[in-house]
């Protein structure tokens, strides 16, 4: 029972990995490195999948078209007339969040100590400890996404309604609601952030506890729900709420 609290703390704190470059030591948190990996994977996948596009789709092009059509339909059903403006942003955030929430199923990188025990090579001992955990378990990363979508809401409101119409929207049904409308811009990113962060962190903690308590068979089954289903659902909900806020801003 004693080890559980420390395990939770270890999951919650973000490790810093020192990178030595030109005599300087740059500490970089592991969620940033995980995001770099995800970015590289997404960029490579999108370059590979969109090569040699044809009018009549075949093979891998079918997969891309299904994804793009899903994003387009999602945006069109919630945003409405101006969907073409927002579909790229919505799709990018959706893909990135799906990758980042489910990345912990690829967490098979052994730690430096394990490699040393396995091979008895001294060099592996200095290998930094690195776990592929979802970057959104860090509250700052989730807040970054929330602020990004809030900025998108403001920009879309100004772009579609012009500055005058956007300002007028604050007093739309009755002017009494003005403070609440201003408050909306602070509460919405907070709630988006905490939804993402709390869900992912909860899933990660539960998975770590299960790994510690019963390392055989059970984690594989539970991981389907906590890592894959919950991660994809939360990414979808985040994107869905963002598109709803955009729809409200441009109406």
């Amino acid at each position: 029972m004693e080890g559980f609290g420390e395990k939770i703390l270890e999951v919650m704190t973000s490790n810093r990995i020192d990178i030595h470059l030109f005599g300087y030591t740059i500490p970089i948190s592991d969620s940033v490195i995980t995001m770099w990996i995800i970015m590289a994977v997404i960029i490579i996948l999108s370059i590979v999948f969109t090569r040699k596009l044809k009018t009549i789709p075949e093979g891998k092009q079918n997969v891309v078209e299904v994804i793009v059509e899903f994003v387009n339909k999602l945006t069109e059903s919630s945003v409405g007339h101006h969907w073409k403006l927002f579909a790229p942003y919505i799709g990018t955030v959706l893909l990135f969040l799906i990758f980042s929430n489910t990345i912990s199923i690829f967490n098979i990188i052994p730690s430096g100590q394990d490699l040393y025990k396995l091979t008895h090579i001294e060099a592996f001992k200095k290998f930094p400890d690195f776990n592929l955990l979802p970057p959104t378990k860090n509250a700052s990363v989730a807040m970054g996404f929330a602020v990004m979508s809030m900025v998108a809401v403001i920009i879309s409101g100004i772009r579609v309604n012009k500055v005058k119409g956007w300002l007028k929207n604050f007093t739309k049904p009755v002017p009494v609601l003005l403070p609440f409308k201003i408050l909306d811009y602070f509460i919405r990113p907070l709630s988006l952030c905490f939804r993402q962060y709390g869900n992912v962190l909860g899933a990660v903690i539960i998975m770590e506890l299960i790994y510690k308590a019963l390392p055989a068979f059970l984690p594989g089954v539970v991981s389907i729900y906590f890592d894959i289903f919950d991660g994809i659902l939360q990414a979808y909900v985040f994107v869905f709420l963002t598109s709803l806020y955009i729809a409200e801003a441009i109406e």
Partner: protein
Amino acid sequence: MGIQAIAVSLALLACVSAGIGISFATAKAVESVARQPEAASKIQTVLLLGAALAEATAIYGFVIALLMILLK
């Protein structure tokens, strides 16, 4: 830890309310899909939105409980 454990468990009561709320919403959604199967997709989006908003309370409780454990 004594009193703090009670406080944490009280904070986690938020999860109970979220569970009850989501289950009510889902029951109504099932009912309305059975009545009008052609409106299923619309009902699904509305249900998802409602469930996400109701779930937020549970998440707030969870985050506050975690903070209470860690920031003694």
